[in-house]
Amino acid sequence: MTGEQIETYLRSEEPPDDALVVVRGGPIAPEKIVEHAQRQAREYTYRNAPMYSVSVSLTVGDWDLSALLVGPLSSRSTFAVSTAGVVRAAGFELLPTYEAPHYDLLLATGEYREAEVLLSLFGSPEPNPYKRRGR
């Protein structure tokens, strides 16, 4: 196993069930989830196994949805929302990694079918009204 252990970068934080989980566009599509999860697994491990995950942003601490869209998601045209409770009830784990509001949403296999299941937990993609238009 050559990947770096993600455990080095975990925060001690448990998001409440009603925290919003926001994924990002361009396309919010299973193909993109698979691509990004496999890239992550190439570089990182979790519990000594390849870490299939995608980056998501959560409304934790002082971060509300607008702050997420104008901040970490500012380059993204679209976004989709679920909640921590819904995602976890479906069996997906949320790992607080690096600095808030960043989380890694873990997938078991990073395969297409699993990505479809994950995206079924999110609402329809919406345009990001704060997409960065220069400063």
Partner: protein, 90 residues
Amino acid sequence: MGVPIEVDIPCDPTQIDHTGLPWTFLDEAAHPERIVEGAIVITGDAEDPVFARVASLTERPTGVKVHLEILPGDPLEYAEAMRRTHLLSA
């Protein structure tokens, strides 16, 4: 029907690491030789491309990791400004 967009190097701009910067692997680049420190590139994906500056290239056990600094604005805004100021024909 226009020419399909081909990003220089795909990434998920929200996929950051401990540096706070998005990252990807050099071998995913369409033309890896163009990906050098300081280079301005198009990244993201064809459906939602963004400009970035290559911040660093780092040898890792799993490949060369490329960190990217996402630049402000939409690529089309840059193109519009260049057309407006005749920068391309200067």
